[in-house]
């Protein structure tokens, strides 16, 4: 009796093996996959710092001394506007001189040079088209340099590409006002330093 049951069980197992074995294999592979350590990308904490260092050197080699020192000391660069009608044709400025403040990864701010009245914010990015589903952004100093090159190279093109907004949309106008005050103080101090440096030479030459 027992022998007959065992033989029947063996036959049943043999017949069901086509169904059971693949499921067992699948369960085993799932178990191994769960236990496998997920591959991790090697994180290099110095990469961004090195990229920013290279970007600062590149920026320094492109802009003039005043602009470089401005960025180093104040964190932004001023670029003078060249269009007689102002940065855009909306709300002409009557030929008054104007300029832009370039911040890293923040909108470009246009303002009137004499009154410091803020004109507009221009939001512009430099996306990596080769990685449309998300990419690392440019180092801060590269972002500033890209804006500087685009502005000095073709102001109208950059401004027409950017999204224009009223002042205060992203950058607090109080902060820009403070930055313009800091800039004026910084320029005075720099002028004094340059004058002091050049005066001994002038004296000795005289």
């Amino acid at each position: 009796m027992l022998l007959a049951l065992a033989a029947t069980a063996l036959v049943a197992l043999a017949l069901l093996s086509d169904l059971i074995v693949p499921r067992l294999e699948e369960a085993w592979s799932r178990h191994r996959a769960r236990r496998r350590r997920a591959p991790t990308l090697s994180f290099d904490p110095g990469r961004e710092r090195r990229a920013e260092q290279r970007a600062r050197e590149l920026l320094r080699s492109c802009v003039n001394d005043e602009e470089w020192e401005m960025y180093r000391d104040l964190g932004f660069i001023r670029v003078w506007g060249t269009q007689t009608t102002g940065p855009d044709e909306v709300g002409g400025i009557g030929g008054a001189p104007y300029a832009y403040l370039i911040y890293p990864h923040r909108p470009i701010v246009a303002y009137l040079a004499q009154t410091h009245r803020l004109l507009s914010e221009y939001c512009v990015t430099f996306p990596d088209d080769t990685r449309p589903y998300g990419s690392a952004r440019l180092p801060d100093s590269d972002d500033v340099l890209a804006k500087w090159m685009a502005l000095t190279g073709d102001e109208r093109r950059l401004i027409s590409t950017a999204n224009m907004h009223l002042p205060g949309r992203q950058i607090d106008p109080a902060q820009v006002t403070r930055d313009l005050w800091r800039l004026s103080q910084w320029e005075r101090a720099r002028m004094r330093t340059l004058a002091e440096r050049s005066s001994p030479q002038a004296d000795s030459a005289g």
Partner: protein, 77 residues
């Protein structure tokens, strides 16, 4: 300029040598075809610095030390 990496040297050579120039032209075209903008930093006699955006290799001054490629500008939020 490469996002996440900063400055990357793409190619270098002497435009007075034919084989170098051809290689530089090929690389220039490849970068522009990839959607990048190209700029040549310039310095005026008065110390003023600016960039000159170039759209073809012929626009690059023969004495230019370098051409900087950077991602094309787009409207941001």
């Amino acid at each position: 300029m490469k996002p996440g990496h900063g400055e990357v040297l793409i190619a270098e050579g002497d435009v007075e040598r034919v084989e170098d120039e051809e290689r530089l032209i090929d690389e220039f075209r490849r970068q522009l075809d990839a959607g990048l903008w190209a700029a040549v930093p310039t310095a005026g006699a008065d110390g003023k610095r600016e960039a000159r955006l170039v759209r073809s290799f012929d626009d690059v001054p023969r004495d230019a030390e370098r051409v900087i490629f950077f991602p094309r500008a787009a409207g941001g939020r």
